[in-house]
């Protein structure tokens, strides 16, 4: 506690005071007596006496010596105690005095005159106690001053809540205790409550809002003894003391946790010889060795003993959070009170579900319904989707269901498709964090229990391994609203990343190996992935992606710190390891999150910048080398074999014929299964020259179209999609050596035409085939849409930019276009290119919100575009796109 002494009193302590005259018990006796007693208490603690008895004994010693020195001082100064009393405050007031804690004492004066009279006595008294080894932290107030709430010294008022009579004028203390403070505390209750909320939240924030520190402070960190005290103060100040319904069992649990942490705090004080409450690695080992705070005879190593610590810390932290979750009382105006009464509680409609959102948090409205486990997962998925946390009430309801095995539980199995939805949402941490607290995460992913509360000694990491893993995910979801400049570059990557679910799954497992008996933790994490993937039934492609992310999770960090990222050879080498843009984006986000979650200072702006530079250089390498790296099919022996196994009746020659000459990106973004499907379409080209595959993909559709290359093909397909009101999000256009085109379009069905009218899917396919084959005109399709799309102004205006690059490719001119997205844009671009006889060798189409970023590899009669052609194209595009 910090109790600010009044200025007058502070001056008084600073003045030279005459040596204490005629002390009844000389200092030469008192000091050694106190020391002997302290040594005795310490020996007893080390011999196994409980911390509770130890702090009581220390308190009794302090009480006895304080009273004795006070009595002696009165005698020496020939004063009676009338008009002065000593009040124990804070921890000392609660009789919880740790070996090197301060003695918080209030000198309470009846009047200002009394204050003047007792100054010399107080000075002598305080010095004597200091000389005896007591760390006195004192404050002085008149009883009149205690009626006022000092708004800038809330700590003093909180300490007063634990007041206890120590010595002196009992009548004065009774006035303070029964008349003055109850009145002022009642009047200031909303203020005290609000301030206590603020102080507590600031403290929790200072420690990153987690109990899982590798070297925790057992007093102040979340889960420390201060949490318990803050909860006790909140209960004491709160008007409605019964509202939380803390059960007797919960009280017992908290009491056990306080005993355990008190034992650690005594141990730390004795070991450090000062009021230092940090449980360092060395002292963790020493505490584990002597089974500190543990009554069973089991032998535990430091990591196992720390798991006990975290279990107790979690109990205290949960208790505090329950109190904190109750709304802080703040004084309201009459108008606000009327408004709130009229409005009622903010509860959103539940749509028949057993849970709903109340005051910005999910609450359970029908607890028995939660025995259907799918309802719990539904609530968690909603939380992840909307970024709305679960209330403590909701967590307690779930915990109740989980702790009562006699309740019949249905739908306990979680499918990968359900989990995917949660992991792929915008705020997966809002589900995963309570799942970890409740034990649901390890139920679904038992591999995660390997790192539960696991301390791995490391100079850089600040948190336990499970906490680090969850923090990586929370740092990513924060990118929705970047908290600082380090995050700004990475925000668009998070928003547009493909298969976010796989990235989050990889983050959950990337360090699990640290809890396994393996030499290299990555190998252990991959082993964990194998078992989790088998149980959850991930597809082969999904396993391969997560495997890559876990196996390579340190590569990007190592490359940016140990290689010259401005050297093209470094970039191309790294690009070869990563393979494609989508993986690069996931690996970059994983690296960003992994460094960020090491400790709050680990991701310096310098490191964030280096990571971004490497990402940009590699990304540009991918988009600028597309037509340089072509597939030479006979070299791809392993892939040929994989495709041959999947493809029914396929020969190696047939597969080679199809793959030969495709850009390597085609292999990077398509699995062996995809390739086999494409070859099946390739076979049918002989009978039907336009092959289409259309499938839903999340909330969008994915279209693959295969046909022989022909002029304006890309523009035609884009035109049909625009005509049907489809907005193209991504597209790839590839061609093999034989001139067979494989174009893939991901598009959003803006008017939900295909979703709401399944019969339209066939008409859409026919329309596409007919227009591409030249059997139907495109123009009528476009006319209706054209007018509608031009009437809608864009929400965000993006400056249109065109960039030509003749250097990156040996055969083509690269054209990069950045513009505001609108339906039909790609058709406008494609038709302009076709009109000027530009052949699209490769195209990469992407969107980021309302911004489109298109890269075209263009040739004219097999050569790069001439400067004149570039200039004509620039003018034509500028006219068309504005």
């Amino acid at each position: 506690m910090t109790t600010a002494a009044r200025p007058g009193l502070r001056l008084l302590f600073g003045q030279p005071v005459n040596k204490m005259q005629g002390s009844v018990t000389p200092q030469s006796v008192l000091g050694p007596q106190a020391d002997d007693e302290r040594q005795r208490i310490r020996r007893e603690f080390e011999a196994g006496v409980s911390a509770r008895q130890t702090v009581l004994a220390l308190c009794a010693l302090a009480d006895q010596k304080t009273q004795q020195v006070f009595e002696d001082a009165l005698q020496t100064h020939t004063l009676s105690s009338s008009g002065l009393c000593l009040v124990a405050l804070g921890g000392y007031g609660r009789r919880l005095l740790f070996p090197y804690s301060d003695l918080d004492i209030l000198f309470l004066f009846g009047t200002e005159k009394a204050e003047q009279t007792f100054r010399p006595l107080i000075s002598d008294f305080s010095r004597t106690l200091w000389d005896m080894g007591f760390r006195v932290s004192s404050a002085g107030r008149t009883i009149e001053e205690c009626k006022r709430i000092e708004e800038d010294n809330i700590e003093f008022h909180l300490a007063l809540l634990d007041r206890r009579f120590l010595a002196g004028d009992t009548e004065l203390f009774n006035r303070l205790d029964t008349r003055v403070l109850p009145t002022s505390e009642k009047a200031a209750r909303p203020f005290l409550l609000a301030q206590l909320h603020k102080l507590t939240k600031d403290r929790l924030n200072r420690y990153g809002n987690t109990i899982f520190h590798l070297e925790p402070n057992v007093k102040d960190a979340p889960g420390g003894l201060r949490d318990y005290q803050a909860a006790a103060w909140l209960r004491q100040i709160s008007e409605n003391k019964q509202s939380l319904n803390i059960t007797a069992a919960e009280e017992d649990l908290a009491s056990g946790a306080v005993d355990f942490l008190s034992a650690i705090r005594c141990f730390l004080h004795y070991a450090n010889g000062r009021n230092d409450n940090t449980l360092t690695y060395e002292l963790q080992a020493a505490a584990a060795e002597r089974s500190l705070g543990v009554s069973d005879a089991e032998t535990r190593n430091a990591a196992e003993w720390m798991r006990l610590y975290f279990r107790h810390a979690r109990t205290l932290n949960r208790l505090l959070l329950r109190y904190l979750e109750q709304k802080a009382l703040v004084p309201q105006t009459f108008r606000q009170r009327i408004f709130n009464v009229a409005r009622g509680p903010k509860t959103e409609p539940t749509n028949g579900r057993p849970f709903g959102v109340r005051d910005g948090m999910f609450e359970v409205l029908n607890q028995p319904a939660l025995s259907d486990r799918s309802q719990i997962f539904s609530m968690l998925t909603e939380a992840a989707r909307a970024g709305i946390p679960l209330s403590r009430q909701a967590e307690r309801c779930i915990a109740y269901i989980m702790q009562h095995p006699e309740l019949t539980v249905s739908n306990a199995e979680v499918s990968w498709s359900g989990l995917r939805e949660m992991l792929g949402a915008d705020y997966p941490g809002f589900a995963l964090r309570p799942m970890q607290r409740l034990g649901l995460l390890t139920e679904i992913l038992p591999e995660f229990s390997r790192i539960d509360s696991l301390v791995v000694r490391d100079f850089y990491h600040r948190y336990t391994v499970d906490e680090h893993s969850l923090r990586t995910i929370e740092h990513l979801q924060e990118l929705a609203d970047p908290p600082d400049e380090r995050a700004e570059h990475f925000q668009p990557l998070w928003r547009t990343v493909d298969r976010r679910d796989l990235l989050i799954f990889a983050l959950l497992l990337h360090d699990v190996g640290k809890g396994m008996p393996v030499e290299n933790h990555v190998a252990g994490s991959l082993e964990a992935l194998a078992s989790a993937a088998e149980r959850l039934k991930l597809s082969e492609e999904e396993v391969a992606e997560v495997h890559f992310l876990i196996e390579r999770h340190l590569d990007m960090s190592a490359t940016m710190q140990r290689r010259d990222i401005f050297d093209p050879a470094t970039v191309s080498g790294f690009a070869a390891t990563v393979g494609n843009q989508e993986r690069l984006q996931r690996l970059c986000l994983l690296t960003y999150a992994d460094i960020h979650a090491v400790n709050p200072e680990a991701l310096t702006p310098w490191k964030a910048d280096m990571l971004w530079q490497l990402f940009v250089a590699t990304s540009n390498h991918f988009s600028r080398t597309l037509d340089r790296d072509r597939v030479h099919a006979p070299d791809e022996t392993s892939l040929l074999e994989q495709v041959r196994i999947v493809l029914e009746g396929g020969t190696t020659e047939e597969i080679e014929r199809f793959l030969e000459g495709l850009p390597r990106r085609y292999l990077a973004v398509h699995s062996a299964n995809d390739i086999a499907q494409h070859i099946a379409m390739y076979r049918k080209l002989k009978t039907e020259p336009v092959q289409i595959e259309l499938r839903p993909s999340g909330r969008a559709f994915s279209l693959t179209l295969m046909t022989a290359d022909r002029p304006s093909l890309f523009a035609t397909i884009a035109g049909v999609l625009a005509g049907w009101g489809m907005n193209i999000i991504k597209a790839d256009a590839f061609a093999n050596a034989a001139g067979t085109v494989v174009d893939t379009f991901h598009f959003a069905d803006l008017h939900r035409t295909l979703e709401l009218n399944p019969t339209e899917i066939d008409r859409f396919r026919r329309s596409l085939v007919d227009v591409v084959n030249g059997r139907a005109p495109l123009q009528p399709l476009l006319q209706g849409r054209d007018k509608a799309s031009r009437e809608r102004p864009p929400k965000v205006a993006i400056e249109t930019k065109f960039g030509f690059d003749d250097n990156s490719s040996e055969h083509s001119t690269l054209l990069e276009i950045v513009a505001t997205d609108r339906p039909g844009l790609l058709y406008d671009i494609g038709s302009t290119l076709a009109r000027l006889w530009c052949n699209i060798e490769v195209a990469l189409i992407d969107t980021e919100g309302q911004k489109v970023i298109d890269v075209f590899y263009l040739t004219e009669q097999g050569k790069k575009l001439s400067p004149e052609k570039q200039s004509a194209l620039f003018e034509a595009l500028r006219t068309k796109l504005g």
């Binding site: 710190q561 140990r562 290689r563 280096m610 940009v616 540009n620 960039g803 990069e816 950045v818 992407d846």
Partner: protein, 112 residues
């Protein structure tokens, strides 16, 4: 005693650190810095936005050395930090009058 400040490529840092340790140097201060000398920056374009990298990332090493070790340390840094390309960095040396260990108030080279 001499104070040595070296600005080196981040990619060479691990090698320099290991070589210095082998040469018997254990204490150093390391700072992530940005700057440029003759190695000017460059411009990258990503998704239509230009990113000018005019200040390049470097690592700054600082250490105070007894006179007898200065040449060894300089040679070690030169050998391990050099790639031969522009941007390898620089070493600065300056004289130091006094060093004091705060813990026990030792002075001079004993404090290093």
């Amino acid at each position: 005693m001499m104070k040595l400040e070296a600005i080196i490529q981040p990619s060479r840092f691990e090698s320099v650190k290991d070589a210095l340790r082998e040469a018997g140097i254990e204490g150093m201060t390391v700072t992530e810095v940005r700057g440029h000398g003759r190695q000017k920056g460059h411009t990258e374009v990503y998704r239509g936005r230009e990113y000018t990298v005019d200040l390049l990332p470097k690592i700054k090493l600082e250490m105070v050395l007894p006179d007898k070790l200065v040449n060894t340390v300089v040679d070690t840094i030169l050998k391990t930090a050099k790639t031969g390309k522009i941007g390898d960095g620089k070493i600065f040396l300056s004289r130091v009058d006094e060093a004091i260990r705060i813990r026990n108030e030792e002075r001079g080279e004993n404090a290093l």
